[in-house]
Symmetry: C2
Subunit: 214 residues, 2 copies
């Protein structure tokens, strides 16, 4: 268990939001950005922004701000997003469909190029230009085109058996949206996505508001 990772969780989670903003600025022709402007955008303190950015290893220039293009490169490098990451999505229900339609992924170099489901209503169809294959076709589809990451969007009850299949095929990185703690062998990394985590953040703030009102 590596404590250094645990300490930086909020900063790591914020990185895509910086990146989103920086890519937008770059598209608008902007060249430099100050940490003050980023702090306002992120709704966090200046010192937190500076700490976040220093994690990427870029050297800050107090007066002139950061070079946007360079900062994008440092953030992508920090996250391991400098090369294209290919992914398989298992489960083409509403959540899986939402992920397929998430525009920012392609700007981040994250491509879901395999989609699987076991529902005959879905297999053979296309979602956002990606054809849905049956789960039994995974081995065949992965041959010579192994995804770096698998995204599990199946039901809680099906998630473990899907994870077992993925691990057997050699997948090492799993982004799990099912609300279960997956059992995987050592060397396989699972990132469990708990959607209610954000709700907890919001309601804790709400509770603090209510208490300060009393």
């Amino acid at each position: 268990m590596r404590q250094d990772k645990i300490l930086n969780i909020p900063a790591i989670r914020r990185m895509p939001t910086y990146l989103h903003k920086l890519l937008k600025m770059q598209a608008e022709g902007r060249v430099r950005v100050s940490s003050t402007e980023l702090a306002e955008y992120m709704h966090i303190e200046l010192i937190v922004v500076r700490k976040d950015i220093s994690l990427t290893g870029i050297s800050g220039q107090r007066r002139v701000g950061y070079d946007i293009k360079e900062l994008i490169r440092y953030i992508k490098n920090y996250l391991g997003w400098e090369d294209v990451l290919q992914a398989a999505l298992i489960g083409a229900g509403s959540l899986g469909t939402a992920l397929l339609g998430y525009d920012d992924f392609e700007h981040y170099g994250f491509f879901i190029n395999h989609v699987f489901d076991c529902d005959p209503q879905k297999t053979g169809k296309e979602i956002y230009g990606r054809r849905v294959y049956h789960i039994d076709e995974m081995a065949e589809r992965f041959a010579g085109n192994m995804p770096e990451i698998a995204v599990i969007c199946v039901s809680n009850t099906a998630a473990q058996s899907v994870a077992d299949k993925l691990v057997a095929l050699g997948v090492k990185y799993i982004w799990n949206f099912a609300n279960v703690s997956l059992k995987v062998p050592a060397g396989v990394v699972v990132q469990r996505e708990v959607i209610a985590g954000g709700l907890a953040m919001l309601t804790v703030k709400r509770k603090q508001d209510k208490m300060s009102e009393d």
Copy 2:
């Protein structure tokens, strides 16, 4: 800006995962749980579990573990989930539909009892038993039945105008799934949900693995 909140972000985000597990244990007839068992489930260190749980104010009993029912009560109290929270969902696309189908919300006392969209293909229909109303009907639907929280699942381009409407109607807590930084007046709290934050966590771990392999 309150630093105490910022420091506890990972712990707050983990609370629903503890709660999910504890509610499941309770349903199975379990009475007590040790922090060791929770640490194994959460894939985190024992000391982190003990710190997380101590945030709720419950007094730990080293030898006998925690009373599950009591721990559930403390976590719900810590999160402000002891009473039912009513919510409005704006945007009944694939992501909104996924949230409506998220079973755990009702165990957490979080009820989405208003659903709005502006697409005539969706208005008038039912999704998981909730009727979709047109966005223009918000004021009318909220009369006497004001939601505590609004969940924004519309496109990035529509999100700010939806937020403006919600704020004008008196909504103070917004859970924003659109990838934009919403401008809201002081006193309104926005929790921005960045789905790519979890991907960042996974790829940073992947990068560290690759570096230690070299």
